[in-house]
Symmetry: C2
Subunit: 193 residues, 2 copies
DNA sequence: TGTACATCAGTGAACGCGCGTTCACTGATGTAC
DNA sequence: TGTACATCAGTGAACGCGCGTTCACTGATGTAC
């Protein structure tokens, strides 16, 4: 039967929401089209009214999650000291335990390189994230270089990936805490080796 | 037909080699038991003479790759300045482009948390790796704390994951270079913020 | 040392299952008059 | 405003396919005598 036009756009958005959450929680290959559609309260058939294929949905769900993630950073950095809070929140137990609402890179990082469509959407997300980090890293504008933004991001993503992969809660918390402390200490000294 | 006893053990090892390489290259769910067996030159049937299930193979292939990876670190650190070379090699284009022979954590990081058997094998690997890093980080024994080892590892894994996920070769090389430069600079200063 | 036979890793057809995707059908909505 | 009908998102059965796993069978190896 025919449905009100307004509902169609809203269902499209609901499919994207469900896909973005389920993909981050379980990985691309462990989530079926049927599972995503069930999560929106529909049967699997109309999926192809909304998306050309599962692969197309992967790419679009990354764009969808990226827009949300970037606006979260923008909201955080709009207030004073917001970036510091953002960094600490990123390396929190809560974030570790809710991949479905969390960082794309930490949740799907190792799988994205294998999906052509996902890769380019992801690249755009990373470029935008680096730029925001560069502008807003809390240790002052003079030292806040693009290289430092990249190093900070790599630490954060690596820490979350390891903290989630590990079986041992004490070790997992230790990883998050150590990297949090390292960020609080500011950029790497240039007087090392 | 019956086969020489010596061949059986050798085939078991070949299955583990093939699995460890294919899993790192394509991810657990994108590699089938048949594909692994074909890579060893056998048909899929005898797989179950060697392993109880695909899931059991995942866990054992992690142990197998871990043993190899740890002995590589040991070999590197046996010579002077070896650890520095190891760190630079980790963040090289070659390593980025050969996940099948490379770091477990960077290749399967986001998938391991979802596989119970793989998780505990991975945890043992991470514990052993952290300990080796702690002992051998190149900026001198006084500053080489466990926390610094963890921070270094998180940076390296994050950098490789991002460098592989990205579509843009220049950005990918920039990520590797920036994190390499950051490691060369030594541990984070405590005089930051 | 030579012969008879039990062993068991490998073969390849077969299993049930869930996947991504397609399609004939339904029927309230939106539109033409 | 009221009626007739074309539209099209949703339904759910069906498709071919590859997956993990099983199993009756094969036949050279290793062993008992």
């Amino acid at each position: 039967m025919r449905y009100p036009a307004a509902e169609t756009a809203e269902k499209h958005a609901r499919i994207l929401d469900a896909a973005a959450a389920l993909f981050r929680k379980s990985g691309f290959s462990n989530v079926s089209v049927g599972e995503i559609m069930r999560a929106t309260g529909l049967t699997h058939g109309p999926f192809y009214n909304h998306f050309a294929s599962k692969e197309a949905l992967m790419a679009q769900s990354i764009e969808h999650a990226s827009a949300k993630a970037l606006s979260d950073i923008d909201a955080a950095t709009a207030i004073d000291g917001g970036m510091e809070k953002y960094l600490q929140g990123y390396l929190s137990i809560d974030h570790r335990d809710s991949p479905e609402n969390g960082c794309l890179m930490a949740a799907l990082g190792t799988e994205i390189g294998r999906e052509a469509g996902a890769r380019s959407a992801f690249t755009a997300h990373l470029v935008a994230t680096i730029e925001r980090f560069r502008k807003h890293l809390p240790w002052g504008s003079k030292k806040a270089t693009r290289a430092e933004a990249i190093r900070t991001l790599a630490s954060m993503v690596g820490a979350l990936v390891l903290a989630r992969a590990v079986d041992d809660d004490a070790l997992s918390r230790e990883i998050l805490r150590d990297v949090r402390d390292g960020l609080r200490a500011g950029p790497r000294s240039q007087a090392g080796l």
